[in-house]
């Protein structure tokens, strides 16, 4: 078996059993790995209707065949489970080194079942796997937990913080302190199982089908990444936050909880300002020649990040123009182990509820949640992480918060997941990806910003509707494949489906074409859809917040526009081979081998 280690670790926390399953190679090739293979395993092993925070839910940490290989960016892993935030399939991706280290320990993935009766962590050194008492790290922040559990530089620690322990529906799984499988509340599922951390070490090697061809492919891919102006210059120099200005200049930088799409102080919180004032060094993931990760320092904190999405969520969405405060909020999210996008977006929703006079009964403890109040934004970020005071309510996420105050319409979410940093009223294709993403409001399931705003690979008119459903489907399918390989999605700025097929073939021993890559992605997209349908997430949830469908953008370069989902969705369903109501047809599922 090439590319895969051939072993899946199965840990049952209810009875303490530890087993090693052989990986089904045919199944692995069909679903690739990572997001695809993990979803197939979860779909086969749990009832999608289970309570996400019950012992019946499982949490899967899954690598792809390229994780742990010399392929550039090959170190990412996926956390797959049922989401406690949205009730959908959750597959949350993280970089750093932990995923590659799990391969070096000899495993493609870990399936965690049941619930421990007291806090535990799992320690893995190749064949030696132990469930250990975690009482000495339970309650501690992610940084301190990592310091205590990390034995040496060849050990990698994945952990939850107090956010996950206290079952915040926005809790993240963290690795190497500040790398996050951030979205969908996957950290709360670990917390519900009393699982604090997974510590991994090992020095095994991944077998490659054709080592010489893999070397050539890696050289070619590295050259393409270095020569491409985005992956070779823009991202390394400024990080993802270089987007702030271009998104704002198009009038689609969500501001004040999506009440408008233009932020006057965008340059104050931009990647350019971050690089000029706070950047200490680049902070690359395992084997990554792009190195978009930032390591920053202010007078108060230092650490990894912030990313573009984080800067937007705590910045323009909350009306905050103080970049130091944003860096501090990012720091506390990493320490408490909560998702920066969902936390920032929930704070913004709370600010709008307050602005509308709906939070008269709330004790703000002298830190009024008003748009633009940077100090209160940081204060309540920590309180969400610790689930204290009003922070306890906000830790349930924007949708549950807004529902409690009778204004569900003010929650900028799709399927319960907080929308990220692009207002779809001015980017029509991107809005369709939000509405149809299998994990809810997400930008990395089909990044249509690339063609619609950035002109990659071609420039599309961002307001045009024609051909957008086809673009969205292709982007979603390609992304599903990349997410399943262990590579970073950012490679797709420089590489195409044929490049990925060549890399996959040399590592695994297949003879796939670019079309096979897309078909595998489509298979993965459809099994996610099936999981959601069986979980009770019906096609009527393929929608956007009412504001974005009915209220014209009030000002800025996208003034006067709404999102035209009703004109895009029927064609999208048809292209997917789903019926007019959005259910996959038996014929399409059979064609995909499902």
């Amino acid at each position: 078996m090439y590319g895969y280690m051939g072993k899946i670790l199965r840990i049952n926390l209810s009875n303490g059993s530890i087993k090693v399953d052989d990986l089904d190679f045919e199944l692995a090739k069909k679903f690739v790995g990572g997001r695809g293979l993990g979803t197939k395993m979860l779909y086969d092993e749990i009832d999608p209707k289970v309570d996400a925070l019950s012992p019946e839910n499982k949490i899967i940490f899954m690598n792809g065949p390229m994780s742990g290989t010399p392929t550039p960016t090959g170190g990412r892993y996926m956390v797959i489970t049922k989401s406690p935030l949205s009730g959908t399939i959750a597959s949350s991706n993280s970089g750093g080194t932990w995923g590659a280290r799990l391969k070096y320990a000899g495993y493609d993935g870990i399936i965690v079942e049941g619930k421990a009766d007291k806090p535990v962590y799992v320690e893995i050194h190749e064949e030696n796997v132990e469930i250990k008492d975690a009482s000495h790290v339970w309650g501690k922040l992610v940084g301190e937990t990592t310091d205590i559990l990390q034995k040496d530089k060849d050990t990698n620690v994945l952990a939850i913080g107090p956010g996950g322990e206290k079952l915040s529906r926005m809790a993240a799984v963290m690795n190497e302190r500040d790398r996050a499988a951030g979205r969908s509340g996957v950290g709360a599922v670990m917390g519900s199982k009393n699982l604090k951390a997974i510590v991994v070490s090992g020095k095994k090697k991944v077998n490659l089908f054709n080592e010489a061809k893999t070397r050539d492919n890696n050289k070619e891919a590295t050259n393409k990444l270095k020569e491409n102006p985005v992956t070779g210059q823009g991202l390394p120099t400024y990080g993802t936050a270089v987007l702030v200005n271009v998104i704002n200049a198009n009038g689609v930088l969500p501001t004040h909880n999506f009440q408008k799409g233009f932020f006057d102080a965008a340059d104050d919180i931009s990647g350019e300002t971050l690089a000029e004032k706070y950047l200490l060094r680049k902070d690359p993931c395992h084997r990554c020649p792009i190195a978009c990760g930032r390591y920053t320092k202010t007078d108060k904190v230092e650490g990894g990040g912030p990313e573009y999405e984080t800067i937007w969520a705590f910045g323009s969405d909350c009306g905050v123009k103080d970049l130091e405060a944003i860096i501090e909020a990012n720091h506390w999210c990493n320490q408490y182990g909560v998702d920066t996008i969902s936390v920032g977006a929930t704070l913004a929703a709370a600010m709008e509820l307050k602005e509308k006079g709906l939070l008269e009964d709330v004790d703000f403890e002298g830190h009024a949640l008003d748009f633009g109040n940077a100090e209160a934004m940081v204060y309540w970020t920590k309180k969400i992480g610790a689930r204290e005071g009003f922070g306890d309510k906000m830790a349930e996420g924007s949708l549950r918060l807004c529902k409690e105050y009778g204004r569900e319409d003010l929650s900028m979410t799709v399927k319960g997941l907080e929308l990220p940093a692009y207002d779809p009223r001015g980017v029509q294709g991107h809005g369709l990806t939000y509405a149809t993403s299998n994990r809810g409001g997400c930008h990395v399931r089909g990044y249509m910003i690339s063609p619609e705003i950035l002109g990659l690979p071609d420039k599309l008119d961002r307001l045009e509707l024609k051909d957008k459903p086809l673009w969205v489907k292709i982007f979603q399918d390609l992304t599903a494949f990349i997410d399943s390989t262990g590579l970073c999605l950012f490679t797709s700025f420089a590489l195409g489906a044929d490049d990925y097929a060549n890399i996959y073939n040399a590592i695994v021993g297949t003879e796939w074409s670019g079309d096979d890559v897309l078909k595998a992605g489509e298979r993965i997209y459809n099994i996610e859809r099936q999981f959601n349908l069986e979980a009770g997430i019906m096609p009527d949830q393929d929608t956007l917040p009412k504001r974005l469908l009915e209220e014209e953008m009030p000002e800025g370069p996208s003034k006067g526009h709404i999102h035209h989902l009703d004109k895009l969705l029927p064609e999208y369903y048809e292209l997917r081979g789903w019926d007019a109501q959005g259910f996959p047809t038996k014929e399409r599922l059979a064609d995909l081998g499902l």
């Binding site: 491409n228 102006p229 985005v230 992956t231 210059q233 823009g234 991202l235 120099t237 400024y238 990080g239 993802t240 936050a241 270089v242 987007l243 200005n245 271009v246 200049a249 198009n250 009038g251 340059d267 990647g271 350019e272 978009c292 990313e307 573009y308 999405e309 930008h443 990395v444 990044y447 910003i449 690339s450 705003i453 950035l454 002109g455 990659l456 420039k459 961002r462 999605l489 950012f490 700025f493 370069p557």
Partner: protein, 77 residues
């Protein structure tokens, strides 16, 4: 006065913002030339709400109060 905004490494030796005296027939290509900006280093140009690649934008004639943004190839997510 035509306002021009520059981003990322296009700011090197040019600054963030430059004002241009308007003249009839002034095009985006003229502005780039005066800024010693090679359009092959530019990925996206936005002028008064219209955004496109340099090839499609270079011959656009600006207005007296136009706002023009020049972006190098950037991305993120």
């Amino acid at each position: 006065m035509v306002k021009v905004k520059l981003y990322a490494y296009l700011r090197d030796n040019r600054g963030k913002e430059v004002d241009f005296e308007y003249r009839t027939g002034l095009t985006i290509a003229d502005i780039a030339k005066e800024l010693e900006l090679d359009l092959s280093d530019v990925s996206i140009i936005i002028c008064d709400g219209k955004d496109d690649v340099p090839e499609k934008m270079k011959d656009v004639e600006v207005k007296e109060d136009s706002l023009v943004h020049f972006f190098p190839p950037v991305a993120g997510g």
